[in-house]
């Protein structure tokens, strides 16, 4: 029983990392419709950026911010330099997915070529442990959950209460219409990629802070749970992504507690497949479905 309770606590940590990553993924997807399979590799890239900073003696939390900024810059570059030109070139949705997959492989293996196949760790301390009943968290984990909470509140505040955030949602809902309102959709798209990349980078660094050891494939191993969380909630829906992260994160941990641990991810994925069977657009996505039907 206490394992079950503890697993719910662990689920909160998994959920935190997943939520940051999934919200980041879904933000840019909502605005630009790019199903970015290179996302996991960008996470790894940010983790390495933070690693380099950390090696120079920069504090891990500062390195995390630097990793986030690296992720933001890389994402913007990727969209401006690769995805947008390909889309303008007339490549369809399926073609763009292949571009993202190709980029993911290039980034992942490029990182391996640079940093080698070995494992790296940050210079950091996990800090003291805190006990809440059967739940145990280290200081770093509490920090991670705090960052996740702050990110979610920040994203919510941005989208619901600022002009820019509303413009992002408007662009996501209907870009030509947003343009006719005077919204500079290219600028909004850039912001969406920057923000998405920032969250992606932060997620990459805190994933590694939590794993405590990583290599060039670490981010791409984490990609499918991120996609699953984003899709489960209804892609392009930040609140859906948060909900999806909660479900995937909790189900994996609780499944590991009550059934076979080696199938914990599989169980979460099967839930996703079942949800898609009944709600092909995810839990929170009923309104956005007009988008592709009307060209």
């Amino acid at each position: 029983m206490s394992v079950l309770v503890a697993s719910i606590g662990f689920g909160l940590i998994s959920t935190s990392i997943l939520a940051i990553a999934a919200v980041g993924f879904t933000l840019q997807f909502g605005v630009t419709n790019v199903f970015n399979l290179a996302y996991g590799s960008v996470m790894t890239g940010a983790a390495y950026a933070a690693y380099v900073a950390n090696q120079f003696g920069v504090d891990i939390w500062v390195s995390m911010v630097l990793g986030g900024l690296f992720g933001a810059a890389l994402s913007l570059l990727i969209n401006r330099g690769l995805y947008t030109p390909f889309a303008r070139h007339g490549l369809g949705l399926a073609g763009i997915i292949q571009v993202t997959l190709a980029l993911g492989l290039i980034l992942e293996n490029g990182l391996q070529a640079i940093f080698g196949p070995s494992y790296h760790s940050y210079q950091m301390s996990q800090g003291p442990s805190f006990h809440f009943g059967s739940m145990v968290f280290t200081a770093v984990q509490v920090g991670i959950m705090g960052i996740a909470l702050a990110s979610m509140i920040g994203v919510h505040a941005l989208l619901a209460h600022t002009k820019l955030g509303k413009a992002m949602r408007a662009t996501a809902a209907d870009a030509p219409l947003a343009r006719s309102c005077g919204i500079r959709t290219e600028f909004v798209t850039d912001i969406a990629w920057l923000l998405s990349g920032l969250l992606c980078g932060i997620a990459g660094v805190i994933l590694v802070m939590d794993l405590q050891s990583f290599t060039s494939t670490t981010g791409s191993n984490f990609l499918v749970p991120v996609l699953a969380a984003a899709v489960l909630g209804g892609i392009g829906q930040p609140y859906g992504a948060m909900l999806g992260a909660l479900i995937i994160g909790m189900v994996s941990e609780v499944a590991a507690a009550v059934t076979l641990p080696q199938y914990k991810e599989v169980i979460a994925f099967v839930i996703l497949l079942v949800v898609l069977l009944f709600r092909p657009r995810g839990i929170l996505a009923e309104v956005a479905s007009l988008k592709e039907v009307v060209a």
Binding site: K163, D174, L177, C181, I183
Partner: protein, 261 residues
């Protein structure tokens, strides 16, 4: 300064002026040498059957496709091939035929997006003004636009575009999918009144009779070109118009068949 054309065909100075505009997809022109003028306070209708090129024309004006030849001018400014967001800065409001509101945003947020270019301080006043025109929107401010009915939808779309207080308004078949009575309300109460307040309105309509009733001037478009134009009130009675256009749509006129088509 006259704000509306009078019955003698004297028209105000053009606010929106198209000269020999030619545009299409992939280098193939769909519309050819279209010249149109819309003055402040005027409702100018473009009527024509399906496939006449009306949608292509609007896409060319609003910068969604590149025009191959000709020009679009707004008062003194050349806005040919200008991006949509810059057009909005020139005071052009555009209501597409479908997907005319942001479905995932609330009614209030839709209005706010309509006023995107205005300072935040102007917002309450603008919302107040638009709600005065469409009081029904008041009650649904916090509803998601995607959940509105067809009439409410169009009301919001026009309300949204009015937020910017546009000098030029482009409406693409605002009455499609609306009932006959609702269509009349939209055209008479919203469109005509907006023009009377000093806006230049370009109205594209398939429901020719209803559109012509509230328009000052009208162009008949067919096969990608303007076939004839004239004061809207006279056009319906002109034999050449009846022959070219209404002959296509229906044998009997001017019943409402043509209007609800």
């Amino acid at each position: 300064m006259p704000t509306s054309s009078d019955k003698d065909g004297h028209r105000p100075a053009p606010q929106l002026l198209l000269r020999e505009l030619t545009a299409g997809y992939g280098g193939t022109p769909i519309i050819r040498d279209v010249s149109i003028a819309v003055g402040l306070g005027e409702v100018v209708a473009i009527v024509g059957p399906n496939g006449a090129g009306k949608s292509t024309l609007l896409k060319a004006i609003t910068g969604q496709i590149r025009s191959l030849r000709g020009s679009v001018r707004l008062a003194e400014a050349d806005v040919t091939n200008m991006r949509g967001d810059l057009l909005a800065r020139h005071g052009v409001g555009y209501v597409p035929q479908v997907r005319d509101v942001f479905d995932t945003l609330t009614v209030a947020e839709n209005l706010e997006m309509g006023a995107y270019l205005l300072a935040k301080s102007e917002l309450p006043e603008r919302i107040h003004e638009v709600l005065a025109i469409f009081p029904a929107l008041q009650k649904m401010r916090h509803r998601r636009a995607g959940t509105l009915s067809g009439g409410e939808h169009k009301m919001l779309a026009i309300g949204r575009v009015l937020m910017l207080r546009p000098t030029t308004l482009i409406l693409d078949e605002p009455t499609s999918n609306l009932s006959v009575s609702l269509s009349k309300t939209v055209l008479n109460d919203y469109v005509r009144r907006t023009a009377d307040a000093g806006t230049a309105i370009l109205l594209v309509e398939q429901k020719a009779v209803a559109a012509l009733e509230i328009s000052d001037w009208a162009y008949l478009m067919m096969g990608g070109a303007i076939r004839l134009d004239g004061p809207a009130g006279e056009l319906l009675d002109r034999p050449d118009f009846r022959q070219i256009f209404l002959g296509h749509v229906a044998k009997h006129i001017p019943s409402e068949t043509a209007g609800t088509g």
